[in-house]
Assembly symmetry: C2
Homo-oligomer: 487 residues x 2
């Protein structure tokens, strides 16, 4: 027995019951759902998924990036090794063109391992797992010790008198909201504490700012990430760090017993001068419309605590494999398919900005960009950002993805690196993998290769390839054509 979807049951209902309806019209609109893609698209998708799951290269590349190179913070030696490695691997694929796009990137270095503790009484200390936030200044050489003011966010901080903050360490402890199904929403609702916490606490005379790690799980790992001082003068910048969720719970509990306990931390991170780095780019030139460019990408830089396997080694190797999988499954793209491994997403977005700037200067026409930067977990679908009539066209391809359990096609964000390409005509898209485990690893020492499942990674690469295949094959309707189809 075959189940009928709601749409199908609906259609069948009409056929059975509405004999008075204009049959021609019925036939017309029942056809809409059925004729939007050819049978051979189903076959092509099957080929793509099979090729990825049986002969995918993404996992092999990720193994090298993660285990032979490791964390790839912008400006680091590892980042440069990753540029060299991925360029060389793209060259092996026999693309039409592979090149490096120079971009100046910030170089922030963590320095010596951080050290931190809670002092419950003179000489009585409890060690704390802490890491400096990316972009933070160092503490004084001897470290920083002060009483702690716990707040649940920046609003609560701003409502407090300067006298309560001055000379203290502000502890931002609002957890990620656990009942949100999509963990990226929970992250979005919290990350202002990490990004702006030190800036705001500094304005009120705080000596330092610490933040509960952006992690839904209770564990011992501190999670780093970018922070900003905005236009705070250098002399007024206060050091900022994250502590593990277990330590955040402990500190909060101890503060309830005794608000006068002290917190100590020491870090000697610093911001050096910008250095030259590169976006790594490869392309297959389109056979019919070489000037219509489709971008697929991820970011090559990562934080330094883990090896950046999920964030965003996964997105890079998946994007690389999109071009290889198209070729392996016999596709000669009509449009130009370009893989871009962006540099410096994590602490500057310089690569994404540079790519868009050069594209604009050259007058390149980008019709579609797809980024994978949400981890290498089982893909669930895509989010889209672009004109409605184009997104509606993509939605018609949704049934093609159902055999692969890809159901999620929603409007939403895309990816940070491709964001600067946005214009009124382009469609931007983000691969949306299962998000439940992502923040267990994000920006922490356990964002490592062993946390990536080979099949999940390969399913993501196949899912991206399938969408790129369809966009390349059909392009996008003009708005006039879209209106015609609609009315």
């Amino acid at each position: 027995m075959i189940f009928l979807s709601r749409t199908e049951r609906f259609k069948s209902y009409i056929y059975k019951n509405l004999k008075t309806m204009n049959l021609k019209l019925i036939t017309l609109f029942l056809g809409i759902g059925c004729s939007v893609f050819a049978q051979n698209d189903s076959e092509q998708l099957r080929k793509i998924y099979k090729a990825s799951l049986t002969n995918g290269q993404s996992y092999h590349w990720l193994d090298y990036l993660s285990n032979e190179i490791g964390g790839r913070l912008s400006g680091s030696l590892n980042a440069e090794l990753a540029v060299e490695y991925t360029k060389a691997e793209l060259e092996k694929l026999g693309l039409d063109r592979v090149w490096l796009q120079p971009v100046m990137v910030p170089k922030w270095v963590r320095g010596n391992p951080e050290f931190a503790y809670i002092e419950t009484a003179p000489g009585k200390t409890i060690p704390v797992n802490l890491c400096a936030l990316g972009g933070s200044v160092a503490t004084p050489l001897q470290g920083l010790k002060a009483e702690v003011v716990e707040v649940m966010g920046i609003d609560e901080l701003k409502a407090m008198p300067r006298s309560k903050i001055e000379g203290k360490i502000v502890f931002f402890n609002r957890p990620m909201q656990p009942d949100l199904i999509q963990t990226f929403e929970a992250y979005g609702g919290c990350v202002d504490q990490r990004y702006n916490g030190a800036k705001e606490a500094g304005k009120l005379g705080a000596l330092g700012a610490i933040v509960r790690s952006m992690n839904l799980r209770l564990d011992d790992l501190p999670h780093t990430g970018a922070m900003s001082y905005g236009d705070t003068p250098v002399r007024d910048r206060i050091p900022s760090a994250a502590i593990s969720t277990n330590d955040a719970e402990r500190l909060s509990g101890l503060l309830k017993i005794d608000p006068t306990i002290k917190f100590y931390f020491k870090q000697n991170c610093r911001q050096l001068k910008d250095v030259m780095s590169y976006n790594v780019i490869g392309e297959i030139t389109g056979s019919q419309f070489p000037n219509e460019i489709i971008v697929v990408g991820g970011h090559l830089d990562s934080w330094d605590l883990g090896d950046g396997s999920h964030d965003d080694g996964a997105g890079c190797v998946q994007s690389m494999d999109v071009l290889r999988l198209l070729t392996e499954t016999g596709i000669q793209p009509k449009r130009t398919i370009r893989v871009v491994l962006f540099m410096n997403e994590e602490n500057g977005l310089r690569g994404g900005r540079k790519y868009a700037e050069v594209a604009k200067r050259k007058g390149e026409k980008h019709i579609f960009a797809l980024e994978s930067d949400s981890g290498g977990f089982t893909p669930r679908g895509f989010s889209f950002d672009g004109p409605d009539y184009k997104i509606n066209q993509i939605l018609k391809w949704k049934p093609l993805f159902e055999p692969y359990l890809i159901h999620y096609f929603k409007q939403g964000g895309s990816g940070a690196d491709i964001g600067p390409l946005k214009d009124s005509e382009m469609v931007l898209s983000g691969l949306r993998p299962d998000s439940q485990r992502y923040f267990d690893h994000h920006h922490a020492a356990n964002d490592t290769f062993d946390a990536v499942n080979k099949r999940e990674l390969e399913l993501g690469a196949a899912t991206m390839t399938a969408l790129v295949y369809l966009v390349d094959k059909y392009g996008f309707n003009s708005i006039e054509n879209a209106d015609k189809l609609k009315n």
Copy 2:
């Protein structure tokens, strides 16, 4: 902007274009999709998911089952500890009734750790990771050494002359098919080698049978699982074991170089007499229809190599939490909701059979049974087995689950333990979590607590609770009513 689903676009198309249609009829059938559930069902589901993600007990229970008790092979002390523990925990929930249902179960013991190697030349050996299959006999005391015949399955074996098999060890090496998206299908396509391999090899005079582990990944862990000798007389039973996928690849490679290499393995597992064990059962008696029973369950026994966290500690604790979550979110069930933790799914299904037998003897009316036995991963939906008109009713609830990214509602199997309950009227259902990682852990030493993600487990518990809530609230239409709604 809000996206329209295909159904909604379809509806909107009709509204816009078919002015000649009978408006009354349109309104009637457009109403079908909208009126099948009340607004407060959405709210109730929100409550259920929130309660599970913020105050779920499943992970806490699983921690105890896995880390304090461990692997729970039928007839073992651990299995009895698990019976006591779960009964005590159910009693704490204030259910209307908690009881143990006695059932005799097989008691197979692994004995000493197995030992195995490949002998490429006299005195030259390569160690192999091997585990006895559940139900296998032991090797002779000194172990078993023989040449190896590699086959890709039972059909290939059966086509071979007895002379090629006699005195050898048969090595079943057909891998799970990697391009199947649902890994349970790949398992289903392979597991006959494990279950029937020794029986068939023995008929042709083989001395032993080894099988490539049912694992899609290349790693060093052997995966156990049930095997059967059918009606083979005891004296003709040959020992059977699984080797890791890496070892299977190695053995196969070496055999291609030299088909005369030998394989050695030693195991002293044995089948003891059946012992008494129990299904653990608890229920909330229905307030309106106490005689209509809804079962939710998993199996409490597990294999012995890991701690049985995914298979099927997860299903047990999720099922236990279904009753608690209903109560916590203010539901007083109309029908009787019964949690059943079945004993002996892995090597006998005695618990499932006993439960059905007793239910039949007592004339109990079961309307619905839901099993979770596919791991504690992110839930994707359900499979259903039952009369079409009842499944169609369930399909109408699908939109309620979409905010929780639950999209998969398909006909298919349910769960082994609830299978014996099947009759022409009942609906059986299986929770369908993401299956990509399941066989990395299934029946192996790494089926452990650390492989379970708390949120994924809790999302599964909430998803089960939501479906049980809906079945309890609406019951099932009679076929006469279903026909009326249809026509």
